[in-house]
């Protein structure tokens, strides 16, 4: 309860700061307009004006919320201006990429566990690749695949798969290795086969690790998809909304797209988190 109160206070303070910043950052335009119209602005008029400009430097929170409401609930889903439409385009590529990336990560991690040559040759590169700004190759993948005639969903999904692949791989290798010697020895005394050891010990004990890396992976996937929508003047998707907003100075639209992306990311992570909780509960790993 106290925690909730603290969080609400912090959020309220942030919103208040935001409103104050909106006044300050939009004041110049308001003063310019007033000077042109040869009127003096009182403080209350200034505040009113800065919170309701059409193309503010920093839109006030209620403007963003209004835009979000107007482009999600009030618009038809099929409309080109509906954020749900754009969000779905982004979500589609994210989910496809995430599923493929996670699956490949799990498969490769199984290979790495059992084949030492693979472990020794692939793992150092997989770890090193985490320090490389992989996102930089996103525009190239989009354009190259475009030039061979593949466009739309697939190139974005490839980027998002690539980004979720490495966290899952590294996490799963750790997870599949997490059973200690005692447990493995116990299975040996049971005369358990290799596949028994895998399905009954290694796989179950890797599940917490899998979920942790999936939370990282799905957030990375979404970022990858959004960045993948930036080049080549894509016209659909949240990334494209951001880009067109920045071209035409539609700041409110940009903020709305940004918030939609944030909401999407938060709900995706929350869904993975909730699944984690239920699964671990069913497996008896948490109470």
């Amino acid at each position: 309860m106290r925690k909730l109160f603290a969080i609400c206070t912090v959020v309220l303070v942030i919103v208040a700061l935001w409103y104050a910043a909106a006044v300050k950052m939009n004041a110049k335009w308001a003063y310019d307009q007033a000077a042109r119209a040869k009127v003096e602005l009182s403080f209350s008029e200034l505040v009113k004006d800065t919170w309701s400009q059409e193309r503010p430097v920093l839109p006030a929170p209620h403007q963003v919320v209004k835009e979000l409401w107007g482009t999600t609930v009030m618009k038809k889903v099929t409309s080109k201006r509906s954020l749900i439409f754009h969000g779905w385009i982004t979500l589609e590529a994210t989910l496809l990429g995430f599923a493929v990336g996670t699956l490949l990560g799990i498969l490769l991690s199984v290979g790495i566990i059992y084949i030492r040559a693979m472990d020794m040759s692939v793992m150092p590169w997989a770890i090193a690749s985490q320090t490389v700004p992989i996102l930089a190759i996103a525009p190239m993948i989009i354009v190259v695949l475009n030039s061979v005639g593949i466009q739309g969903l697939i190139p974005k999904a490839i980027i998002s798969a690539y980004l979720s692949f490495f966290p899952v791989l590294v996490g799963m290798v750790k997870g599949l290795r997490s059973p200690d010697h005692m447990q493995l020895d116990l299975l040996k005394t049971y005369n358990a086969s290799k596949s028994d050891a895998f399905f009954k010990l290694r796989l179950p004990s890797s599940v917490p690790y899998l979920f942790t890396s999936m939370k990282v992976g799905i957030a990375a996937s979404l970022v990858g998809t959004i960045v993948g929508e930036l080049p080549t003047g894509a016209i659909r998707g949240l990334g494209a909304r951001l880009l067109t907003g920045s071209y035409y100075g539609q700041t409110i639209q940009m903020w709305a797209a940004l918030f939609a992306a944030a909401i999407l990311a938060a709900s995706l992570v929350a869904i993975v988190g909730a699944t984690e909780k239920t699964v671990l509960k069913r497996m008896g790993m948490i109470r």
Partner: protein, 281 residues
């Protein structure tokens, strides 16, 4: 066709060598642990080169490593200018400012339990968001030059760093803090002599995570507008001109810069947290 066969043969041979090496009794020695990934990497490059040549893959789809290397060697001037603009001016400035600000904020938060209670969940939440998306807005505010890139980097590194530092500051246990109290140590003494050193592994964890996101932020922010220099600018314009050899050269530079940056922070960590169990042995 022969090139393809050669590529296939080299692949098989290298895999065989790696399997043998990893099965041999020497698989725990440092040399072999280095040699196996090295052979794997070199094989990939050779096979890539041979496949591109053997299948006559056009350069606009995938340039061969040799072409990329030539481009890399012949355009060091441009690459250096891009590197300086993006990495030193954009990423590094933002990294230092962002991490510094997060560190100070964390110490501030630590003194006020109420803030810790409220800000930490918010910080955790923000750290999971696609913050890169704020890049176009910041480019609009701070102009096309490196300032806007640094601003993106500041926001990107701030929250992971904040969360890690706050976590680190609470890493000492009651016994240790009680001991400091029996010494009549002041808040400052406890902070400097006990809690900050104990927080170092966490702080460096945050610093290491931030190296990659700093570089990503600086590069992606340039996709939204930049002066006519910079790694992100070069990548997006050369992609448009289908000059993929230059794109790959920039990516190589970015990869090296990212790894060296990470390596440098990790090396400092090794020096600072030599006492930590993860650094021993």
């Amino acid at each position: 066709m022969t090139l393809l066969l050669i590529a296939f043969a080299i692949w098989i041979a290298a895999s065989y060598v790696n399997v043998m090496l990893s099965r041999s009794s020497a698989h725990k020695t440092l040399l072999v642990r280095f040699l196996v990934p090295f052979i794997f990497g070199v094989t990939i490059f050779i096979v890539w080169e041979l496949l591109v040549r053997g299948l006559n893959i056009p350069m606009v789809i995938l340039p061969s490593p040799s072409v990329i290397a030539t481009k890399l060697a012949s355009s060091t001037g441009i690459l250096w200018a891009d590197f300086f603009q993006t990495f030193v001016k954009g990423a590094l400035t933002g990294y230092i400012m962002g991490c510094g600000a997060a560190f100070l904020t964390a110490i501030l938060i630590d003194r006020v339990p109420f803030l810790q209670l409220g800000l930490l969940p918010v910080g955790n939440f923000v750290a999971a968001l696609p913050i890169v998306g704020i890049a176009p807005i910041l480019v609009m505010w701070f102009g096309f030059d490196w300032q806007s890139k640094a601003a993106v980097v500041v926001i990107m590194v701030f929250f992971p760093m904040l969360v890690n530092t706050v976590q680190g500051l609470s890493a000492t246990d009651h016994m240790q803090r009680d001991l400091m109290k029996t010494y009549a140590a002041s808040y400052r003494d406890t902070l400097v002599k006990l809690r900050l050193p104990a927080a170092m592994p966490f702080i460096f964890n945050g610093l290491k995570i931030s190296t990659t996101s700093a570089l990503i932020g600086a590069i992606v922010a340039e996709f939204f507008g930049s002066p006519i220099v910079g790694m992100g600018f070069r990548i997006s314009t050369e992609v448009g001109k289908l000059g993929l050899d230059m794109v790959w050269a920039e990516i190589t530079v970015a990869a090296i810069a990212g790894s060296v940056f990470y390596g440098a922070v990790a090396a400092i960590e090794k020096g600072v947290t030599f006492w930590h169990p993860s650094q021993r042995g």
